[in-house]
């Protein structure tokens, strides 16, 4: 069984990951997956998306976010996989999967994982084109998305 939190440079097969995860969640009636894919720039000029991270803190942050999601939504299980290093447009960047008895918890758990991971896990993206490189700015929407999880418990 693959580790439930993985930070790796190597590509991954999202379908194989989904199957491996779903094979280990007895009693769950609902499995949700989210896969993030590298998007090209609007003008199609992306050469490389560089993903930097903070080894040690990254694993700790992802594990804490996973534990929190499992406890909060009563998940049967959850997994997080995130790549770093140089990626090309259309390359999968990361994936989360959740399992629960019912669909509402599986969906909420996956959205919670994504919202926290976006703004609280130490990854930084840099877009490289022939003209130069630019760090991707954090989006206000991503910070706002976190706020909903503190309402109502």
């Amino acid at each position: 069984m693959p580790a439930p939190v993985r930070v790796q440079q190597a590509p991954f097969d999202m379908g194989a990951e989904l199957n491996a995860f779903a094979a280990t969640v007895p009693g769950a009636g609902a499995v949700v997956s989210f896969s993030g894919i590298t998007r090209d720039l609007a003008d199609g000029t992306l050469e490389v998306m560089e993903i930097e991270h903070y080894p040690g803190m990254t694993e700790a942050a992802l594990s804490a976010i996973r534990d929190e999601a499992i406890a909060r939504f009563g998940l049967t299980d959850a997994m997080i996989l995130h790549r770093y290093g140089p990626l090309k447009a259309a390359d999968p960047i990361m994936m989360v999967a959740t399992a629960a008895r019912h669909r509402a918890d599986a969906f909420a758990g996956a959205e919670f994982l994504m919202d926290y991971l976006k703004s609280r896990a130490p990854f930084w993206k840099k877009e490289v084109t022939a003209k130069g490189a630019a760090w991707v700015a954090a989006r206000d929407e991503d910070e706002d998305a976190l706020a909903r999880w503190s309402r109502g418990g």
Binding site: E52, M57, A60, I93, M94, M114, P122, W124, K125, A138
Partner: protein, 83 residues
């Protein structure tokens, strides 16, 4: 005390190093930032907009008023953009 400091993303590029060790008596993260900023123009520029900087002490995200007693590693970086 001796502290390992790490920098990521554009903060790393602006200070010009990924990691260094400093000898400091700074009591909080904010004190440490003030010390670093006073070093030279490069550090002053890197830390000019503290609203755009996040800090972690020993792998845990903290506010700038966090105490440094007992800390081994402090990291500075811009807002995270994972996912």
């Amino acid at each position: 005390m001796k502290l390992d400091i790490r920098y990521f993303a554009w903060l790393r590029e602006r200070v010009g190093t990924a990691a260094e060790q400093v000898e400091t008596e700074a009591a909080t993260v904010a004190d440490l930032i003030a010390e670093l900023r006073a070093r030279d123009e490069g550090y002053a520029y890197a830390f000019s907009d503290t609203g755009a900087i996040r800090a972690a002490v020993d792998h845990e995200l903290v506010e700038f008023d966090a105490a440094l007693s007992g800390a081994r590693e402090v990291a500075f970086f811009p807002p995270m953009t994972g996912g």
